[in-house]
């Protein structure tokens, strides 16, 4: 936005000085500059979403769907205890993943930003963090399965070390493995924005805090944490929206035994129940938007950036 303003302003004065007929162009120019993005958003975001909203009111049978205006998709969805249970389950995954990635993300970012002194090392270590993300996330997820299995590496290691005599069953195909995979997949989305926020903190502020007699913990709580809030908020938005919309992690890591909203939608799509899936998607979108708005209420990203 600032960019367009800067570039259009000199052209305004230049054009005004010259021909009157060309006075229209400067006024239109910003719109033209914004047009490609607007068209993209209209075509690839707004139109599909509107289509989904429209389809969510259609009727269907096992083969086809019929343009109509019925509320059954929504009433069936919202009155079913499964929906509520599934939402609760998905929210549980989101909350656990959020809390753990926040802990890990903050610690890693703090270490990188304040303990590693040289910029070169900061960059090197930061790149090391991203290396696992060069592989496909499906591969990263699936590789947990042979590791955590009943006869997997971890269980056989623990048994041969004499720590346990029975394999630990909860390791795989459980909520534990689902959250573990989520944390593994999405921790970086928390590290990056928090690290970014921390790097922008004026080091003089920390010195001032120390000079003022604040302990390390007090500095962390009263200086660093408030100043990294925008990073935390951005990371949280990433993690929460990704977990809320996921279906493949839950399916693979729970062994198909747990449900998430994404999985519910995927099931409905695979059974040709597009209108029901659309209604579900609309509700999910609303829920996620409310969550994002709530997060933005707590932290005003724009003000603190």
């Amino acid at each position: 936005m600032t960019l367009t303003a800067e570039t259009s302003r000199p052209s305004v004065t230049a054009a005004a000085g010259r021909v009157r007929r060309r006075r229209l162009l400067p006024r239109v120019a910003p719109y033209l500059q914004a047009a490609p993005l607007t068209v993209m958003l209209l075509l690839f975001l707004l139109v599909p979403i509107l289509t989904i909203v429209v389809v969510s009111f259609w009727d269907y049978d096992s083969v086809r769907f019929y343009p109509d205006f019925v509320l059954t998709n929504y009433t069936e969805l919202l009155t079913s205890p499964v929906t509520w249970k599934t939402y609760l389950n998905t929210l549980k995954y989101a909350a656990l993943t959020w809390a753990i990635t926040l802990g890990i993300g903050f610690t890693v970012a703090y270490f990188l930003a304040f303990h590693v002194r040289s910029t070169t090392w900061q960059m090197v270590l930061f790149l090391v963090c991203t290396i696992p993300f060069w592989t496909s996330n499906i591969i990263r997820m699936i590789s947990w399965i042979p590791f955590l299995g009943r006869n997997g590496l971890l269980n056989s290691g623990l048994i041969s070390a004499g720590i346990i005599d029975q394999p630990l069953e909860f390791l795989l195909f459980s909520d534990f493995s689902v959250v573990l995979a989520f944390v593994h997949l999405y921790a970086l989305f928390m590290v990056v924005p928090i690290f970014n926020s921390m790097m922008r903190i004026d080091r003089a502020l920390i010195e001032a805090a120390r000079d003022g007699g604040a302990s390390a913990a007090q500095t962390l709580w009263n200086v660093i944490l408030p100043l990294t809030k925008p990073g935390i908020a951005i990371g949280s938005i990433f993690v929460v929206t990704l977990v809320m919309g996921d279906f493949i992690t839950v399916r693979l890591m729970s062994g198909g035994q747990s449900a998430s909203i994404g999985l519910m939608i995927a099931n409905e799509i695979s059974l040709l129940q597009y209108p029901a899936a659309a209604a579900n998607a609309v509700v999910l979108l609303a829920v996620v938007l409310i969550m994002v708005v709530a997060m933005l209420r707590i932290v005003d990203i724009r003000k603190e950036l």
Binding site: R64, V82, F173, G256, Q257, M264
Partner: protein, 437 residues
């Protein structure tokens, strides 16, 4: 076979041959074929441009084999493009993108959903050469005149429509066939005999508390519900009118039992794809589960014991067939018929039989199999020599016997076919509740 194939290949390849010589060639070949009693001369269409034809076939992975496409190119001269998808995706695409395929390779229960949508055209049985030799299961529903008709979406109930433009399934065989059967099998539970520790004889063993945390069920609702029903019926907990078309009450009762078992921790996982079932079994996460025959073979090929256990209540069967998309016409339609006739002419049949499936026309397949292979796969006799897969890998050592025995023993004991129910929508909702429970 070689007699008839040599001229046909050269004819399709040499563009310089005049139509007259071609026709003479055809007549000679046809004459020879009829004379020798082996009508296997392909191609029977002699148009020059047939090799420009490309037929797009899509379907489930089981019969979308590249070997078939290669052989089609060799024998018939035209190109067959194959796309393999899972059964849900197949149903979806068949209905919503009817222009994206020419030939659909779908299961009968999928056909029951797809055909009424009017996206396919029935086939004229007069143009199907081996129609009379198709296994009667697909025509009358009975393997032998005495056998009982199994429950579920039995193929013959959706195998015919009332007329050329009809989408209504006919009650008795007509001249218009919806799908030409290609491949079918009888499914049961797969077990790890080294880990179950006792003989398994009934579907109800899936819920035996002894296997707590070591059982699995497939999570494709329309098939999973059948396995669940076989289990509940074997337990004596639920009586069904028709397992393939349950009432709401029957669905509720069945899934109540399964949900209770799930909550008690009976299941280790639910699987949706072939490789998942193989991995669950070979890693020992699961020792008893619903399984597909090639998955059992895949586990065994890793050197791990696995048995496709015949059970006293019988099998759950499935069958697939080739259907033609509505938009197909002219030369492409001729090519499609040509392909379907070729499909039933034996080579593919033998290929499928060697994988442990069954082919629709047994007589022609037999001609393409060695007597030892036929005896092992179809007659349930101990293998006289090592049994090789179509790719030439050893599948079974000499002396092995096929799980479940002969064709008659297996297909004659089908309790139920894969199905779509009238209460489909309700069932799916309940199934989702079961998965989420």
């Amino acid at each position: 076979m070689t007699d008839t194939r040599t001229p046909s290949t050269s004819a399709t390849l040499s563009t310089g041959v005049s139509r007259r010589t071609l026709l003479k060639g055809t007549a000679a070949v046809a004459g020879a074929a009829v004379g020798s009693g082996a009508i296997t001369g392909f191609p029977t269409i002699w148009a020059q441009n047939i090799k420009n034809v490309t037929l797009r076939q899509f379907g489930t992975g089981v019969s979308n084999l590249n070997a078939v496409a290669d052989k089609v190119k060799e024998d018939l001269g035209f190109t067959l493009q194959m796309t393999a998808l899972d059964s849900d995706a197949v149903t979806q695409r068949a209905v919503t993108q009817p222009k994206s395929y020419d030939i659909a390779d779908i299961e009968y229960w999928i056909g029951k959903k797809v055909f009424p949508a009017g996206v396919m055209q029935p086939m004229d049985v007069k143009k199907i050469k081996n129609f009379d030799k198709i296994v009667p299961i697909f025509i009358t529903g009975k393997l032998t005149p005495e056998s009982a008709i199994a429950q579920g979406t039995a193929p013959h109930t959706v195998g015919f429509v009332e007329g050329k433009d009809s989408t209504k399934f006919a009650k008795a065989p007509t001249e218009w066939m919806t799908l030409i059967p290609t491949i079918y099998n009888a499914d049961t539970l797969g077990i790890r005999p080294d880990l179950v520790g006792r003989p398994i004889s009934s579907w109800k063993d899936l819920l035996d508390p002894a296997f707590k945390g070591k059982a699995s069920l497939l999570n494709i609702p329309s098939i999973g519900i059948m396995d669940a029903a076989m289990v509940c019926e074997a337990m004596g907990e639920v009586k069904y009118g028709d397992k393939g078309n349950m009432t709401k009450e029957e669905i509720d009762k069945t899934l109540k039992i399964m949900t209770d078992a799930k909550k008690a921790g009976q299941f280790r996982a639910f699987w949706k794809t072939f490789d998942e079932s193989v991995n669950l079994m070979s890693s020992g996460e699961v020792i008893i589960q619903s399984m597909w025959s090639p998955a059992v073979a895949a586990v065994r090929s890793k050197g791990i014991q696995c048995v496709y256990q015949p059970l006293k209540e019988g099998y759950r069967a499935w069958g697939g067939g080739l259907g033609i998309a509505k938009h197909l016409s002219g030369l492409e339609l001729d090519a499609a018929y040509e392909y379907i006739n070729w499909y039933l002419s034996g080579w593919v049949g033998a290929y499928l039989n060697r994988q442990g499936y069954y082919s629709a026309v047994l007589d022609t397949a037999k001609q393409h199999m060695s007597p030892e292979e036929w005896a092992f796969w179809m007659e349930g006799q101990p293998a006289k020599a090592d049994i090789l897969s179509p790719e030439g890998k050893v599948m079974e050592k000499a002396g092995a016997v096929r799980d479940g025995g002969s064709f008659q023993d297996r297909m004659g004991r089908v309790a139920c076919w894969n199905a779509v129910m009238d209460e489909d929508r309700y069932m799916v909702r309940k199934w989702n509740e079961f998965i989420a429970a």
